[in-house]
Symmetry: D2
Subunit: 311 residues, 4 copies
């Protein structure tokens, strides 16, 4: 029997002494102020037990991890109509590339690059106010994490909007291709608010449970989405969840995951665990350096892999 | 209990009456002569049982499916040194694109696009003759399939070489970047011979067993490669195994797979099944049209998905 | 002695009966309302004579032709500092491509593609109000054309702003790369106002005189810019003045020229003539179809070419 | 009256003391052995006078300058049919890029990038032996330069062939797109032999006379090609003659020119001069560093520019 507590304690200890910690994202000034010293990991197991180590109660900006939850909402709202507006293929490009958008006439490659997430935000926004759209996403996250205290960090949101020229470029580019229904500035606002939601590792691991258990909040829990939809979101996380490092993550860690530039990673071991890991320093493709390493060691030692005969 | 025989009989029957069958590949003239009417599917289950329907004993050109086996050989020969010469990321490009090679200075994105497979062939070739390299690949396939009758279809090989200007361009381009050790024409010859190996669905499903059971030929069988390596090859199949349709295959079918322009697909359900499916007509990204549809229905009805809590 | 009047009469007559007239630009709705039946041509010769045929007094939207005049202004304001922000090479891309901007980190390839013209507008705008910047460009054009009646067509400007998402994307993208000093919406406003200036062929041919005579308004006329600068602007017109049709224009017409999506073309025969031609229908790369044909025949019959021993 | 001898003496003297001389091309090992100390310039004027300074009798490898002469031959052989196989637009890419070939389906952008010159060589080769094709090009150059001693430098040719994997890649890529009639290895051989022709500045300046005088070898001389064709070749030299530095050359030097990686540049001042300049060190886009500077100063001091009212 694997002793998960022992493993995560090892991981936290090793992380505390790591000298190479990656670089904290600077393009959102507010994020650049976060100390690279943080490290936390939280696991919710099949039995509902929570195994944690490190800074697991410190909220951080979930950033692109919010795209997983927004995608769930948009699919539940719009169904497969969403797929007319965004693809399902890895991009082979950085998260914020606009090149692909031009070659493919304004249709983002997948919902986890920034342009794709703008299309998802646009779906959520249609038919309601920007504030309503954000409240809906936040409400969804409060529901799946079982935590009514979750909030948008408005300092982060403002900082991102003030420096969000590149995302504004993408929103306008998609609007030019008629792939936004709403005003670019409104869609971008919703997107940025969602990204600025703050969560701790513990909260995030809880929020991911429905992906590990076929759409239900834990084994036999309340249904959040269909089992097919949960599986498909996992598939997208595996192929596209780490931008141009997605293949590497699948190769090394072996389970679906989604990273954010705040340094968080949500990893799903279907049937076994929902895991959240956080360390602010990023590697050269924009994913948490220590977080990725910790998850690689965790899955190796726990024997977790969707590619093994006995996952 | 799922009745697999019933499912595959359904699939074969439906395929026999399908009107939209895709288009048989034409860029290798010999392949263009294959009738699009064929359809076959073979499953090797955990118990070793073989469940088949359709043309499961007709040999077809495995083409790019050979890249999976060549990769296994090259990794066993060269270890992780291979990864200095080829990446592990989806390409976001067609199988035969040369654009990425220029942007990334002669390093192919992954071992399953043509350029990556040339690097793999080059590793196998180094230190032996071209004929020896092909004999080694063929010997490996005979071993894992338990079938000493496997052969290269020389008519296909000749046809491919006579029309292989694009692959010759890639080999020369990689040589210009010093990412081939051997002469481009020799490496290309090995690559083409490997692609021209002919196998039936039944033979191919047997050959894939080591990927479904952690590197062993069936549960508890003879070891072929390490369990970690088998998992990692599965990961690459999931993220890169269907060229620019890899995300779609993961989304719809939910298990690792590798396609070939001959119309074959090898699909792996770790711990449960090794599956080979064949129908020569291709969809617009170059993967078997009916084969993909059959695998989607099979995994759905069998409840197989690496993304489910109970795969 | 060449009879220019005879030639232009021929050109106008032929144009009046042409059946293939190209397609009027539709991405600015106001421009789409212009009749494709128009054709006009005006030549100002070395002696100051004006030779005209067709609709030479009908004002049209000069659109990108304004980039030539704005570049002159920006160079006179900022000197060679401008070249830190924009290149001098043909782009090999359509006028509104954003791909190159990403590959080259926000630095447009030349001042005649839209992104480059935004950088030029940004230089003019710095240190003054948007309205002041537009007044300066308009004042410059009134001066060089000797016509105080020139105006911005505000209906066109509004139409372009309402549908200018793509240019807004570029402005934001350049801002993200710190290659705009001012607010993207302000720079875009100046750019759009400049493009919406309305001129007739006669007015435009007069405005181009300083380029044909080394920076002076006609031979021995008032200096507008230095002779070196006038020559260099001609060089840029020749290599970059027709987007991805620049090589073709140089090959067929043989003199520097600048086109606009309103269907106008300004062509310069240094030492001999300033020519304006207008026909609203565009060819597939966005340049006036009949205008280009007329200029090709005119230069051939007049023996004008900067590449001939006796131009 | 400009004293050209005084100018070129100045240029040679300045070049002899220049410390920043660029980098000699290394991708053809034989070229890498040439001393960067060389500098030569030769001008043939309208009166037929030859004004020279520096190493004007030392033969160097003309490399891509041969593309101008090969183009003349191919157009005289095939007429405008050539333009179905190669475009007339600047590429916005380095001389040896293969990216554009893929995006534009095997049709090179212009005859002066390597791929375009392969198409030109293929036209010359069709209907005769490779040796015959080279003899024809050499015969043309002997004719226009009036020098029967011109030869291919076989040591350079062999060195280039031994390291020509990238050009071999392009030839195969074009063959895959059916844009080569002959075997890739044969077309490449002709191309390489043409590039390896050795000429001195004096010989090269003489060879360029037909471009400066409307297709005739000097004013009133023997016709080589039509005046229209000579002008159009000049147009292509101006827009495409310096790869991705063509716009810069037109901007700074102001006349048509063609460079080679051997460090030579042929510059044409229509009606005034044919100029050859040579210095082996290249700038970052692959054109002679000192050669470009010398030509810029020469045209400035001589008042030569195709963009001036009095060229």
């Amino acid at each position: 029997m694997v002793d998960l507590q022992h493993i995560v304690d090892d991981l936290a200890e090793r992380a505390s002494s790591a000298t190479e910690r990656g670089r904290v994202a600077t393009y959102i000034p507010q994020l650049a102020q976060v100390s690279p010293k943080h490290f936390g990991i939280a696991i919710v197991t099949q039995s509902g037990e929570e195994i944690v180590a490190g800074d697991t109660n410190v909220p951080f900006s979930i950033q692109s991890i919010s795209k997983v939850f927004a995608l769930t909402l948009a699919l539940d709202k719009d169904g497969d109509g969403l797929w007319r507006r965004v693809g399902r293929e890895p991009s082979g490009d950085p998260f914020n590339s606009i090149v692909q958008l031009e070659y493919e006439k304004g249709v983002p490659r997948n919902p986890f690059i920034n342009a794709g997430a703008l299309a998802v935000a646009d779906v959520i926004l249609s038919g309601q106010s920007p504030a309503g759209a954000v409240a809906q996403t936040l409400g969804f996250l409060r529901h799946v994490s079982g935590d009514e205290t979750l909030q948008v960090d408005q300092a982060v949101a403002k900082s991102e909007l003030d420096h969000g020229f590149r995302n504004m470029a993408m929103a306008n580019f998609m609007k030019a291709h008629k792939n936004l229904e709403n005003r670019p500035e409104d869609t971008l606002w919703v997107y940025v608010q969602n990204c600025a939601i703050a969560m701790s590792c513990r909260q995030l691991a809880r929020a991911g449970r429905y992906l590990a258990w076929d759409g239900r909040i834990g084994p036999g829990g309340a249904p959040v989405t269909s089992s097919q939809r949960a599986r498909r979101i996992n598939a997208l996380m595996l192929t596209c969840g780490h931008y141009d490092g997605s293949g590497e993550f699948a190769f090394r860690v072996g389970v679906p995951g989604k990273s954010g530039v705040g340094g968080g990673i949500l990893a799903i071991v279907p049937g076994h665990a929902s895991i959240a890991c956080w360390s602010p320093g990023l590697n050269e493709v924009g994913n948490s350096l220590l977080g990725t390493e910790a998850l690689e060691e965790l899955t190796r030692r726990a024997g977790w892999s969707v590619f093994a005969s006995n996952p």
